[in-house]
């Protein structure tokens, strides 16, 4: 699949692009099963709820689960990313977040690239984020909220670099926009949040200002975010690098599969 000229222009203009129902119900089922399998696999890639049994997030499932190792090369996902970037790409970060019912702390308004610049010394904002809805996303279950067009202004503030140490998770306060700055940006750009059925996909810029509301619904909401980075734009660390399940080290260029991610997996029992 290739993006149309109109879709490319929408992405450049707004900083994000919704591809409604890109994956079908069967494909979503398979991805959910693989997510659960990865949740059941012990290891540091799992982020567990405080004091709890529930897994809140997993990293780098594409390194363990065939469905995801293939999904990141599915041409419906990879080809649009290649269109939006210049150089070859690899997976810089892979995360599935299960936002719990009745909460899931809201994530302060921020720009991803600032976090990666601070944490990983990433040279340029040469990334595309691909968000894959593993559940329906509605206004009630903590959708991501964008300020459309805000990516065109570059980084809106500097963050708190000096106080930040290398760690797995940045403190949102280190990178969150000051309220007055955000108010200016909302005045100029407004707010919007793409929604859609499970299987929908949102491509978004590493420089777009975004936040996300808490999940007010009684059901968890699973969201995959794959970040592709250009192979010529590698991170480097002054101190201790972040773990390799958080920042992937395999920067070999990805090539699209011939078919879809399930094509060679159909015989595998679900």
């Amino acid at each position: 699949m290739r993006l149309t000229q109109e879709q490319l222009e929408q992405y450049q203009e707004n900083g994000f692009l919704l591809l409604d129902s890109l994956l079908d119900g069967h494909e979503v089922d398979r991805l959910r099963t693989a997510f659960q399998r990865d949740c059941d696999t012990p290891g540091p890639h799992r982020i567990v709820e405080e004091g709890g049994a529930a897994v809140r997030a997993v990293y780098s499932s594409h390194q363990r689960q065939a469905e995801y190792s293939r999904l990141v090369r599915d041409p419906r996902v990879l080809a649009p990313v290649q269109q939006l970037l210049t150089d070859d790409v690899y997976v810089y970060q892979f995360k599935i977040n299960a936002k719990p019912a009745f909460g899931g702390e809201k994530w302060a308004w921020h720009q991803d690239f600032l976090a990666w610049q601070i944490s990983d010394n990433l040279p340029a904002p040469a990334q595309v984020n691909v968000a894959v809805f593993l559940d329906d996303v509605t206004e009630f279950n903590g959708p991501v909220i964008f300020l459309p067009g805000s990516h065109r202004e570059g980084l809106a503030h500097e963050g708190r670099k000096s106080e930040v140490k290398s760690e797995q998770h940045l403190d949102p306060d280190d990178i969150s926009l000051p309220p007055q700055r955000l108010a200016e940006l909302v005045d100029r750009h407004g707010m919007t949040s793409p929604k859609g059925p499970a299987g929908s996909v949102v491509l978004f810029s590493p420089e777009i200002v975004h936040g996300s509301a808490p999940n007010m619904s009684p059901f968890a909401r699973r969201l995959l975010i794959v970040t592709y980075n250009e192979v010529s734009n590698l991170p480097s660390w002054r101190g201790e690098p972040r773990p390799d399940y958080v920042v992937c080290r395999d920067s070999a260029p990805l090539a699209p599969l011939d078919g879809t991610f399930l094509d060679d997996l159909e015989e595998v029992a679900v």
Copy 2:
């Protein structure tokens, strides 16, 4: 103004009814000015932010501000309430809530009537709530979320009556629905949240299950809620009654004004 048969049926069916842009921009301006005037009036009716200068809510402004004393008798508001109830009505509670930017704690899912039964020993759910938008309400600034039709099941649980003492504000935990119960209700009824420009009005049942999301926007959002109660359905207290600015004691039947709430106020300087 009278509700049409279709509107009456919508209210009975869904437990709420949106009246889009019922008040015009000039009227909203006057109400905002009167709200600010009441915020500047010292007294226990003002709920102030923790450690702060900002007023988060005011009670019973209709006892001090002419705009509000007349608004509660404006026929566009009072006549629909009279249609929905049987007996004469009075104002049981009047509150304007300014939900602060970037937060405003989310209010747990609950039914108003349970709170009033516990706090004020109110005999029957013979009330109508009238919410007046003093700012535009969007999906981003903490709209009220309803489970449409949930009022038809009556009270969904009993709350924690025994532990509750008489106080101005109920602890949301005393009346909030258990997660499993809410999940069942959401499965059956879904979720919806009426939105609209400032001046819009939502009528809603004291038995409808509702919650409200935090305000993710950088601007405060002001919402007036007037609760009308039937004059034959008065509260009584076993212990200390709640203060009279929270639970109004004047239960004389209200009669609609001849004109709109501003008709006799237009000469007053804003």
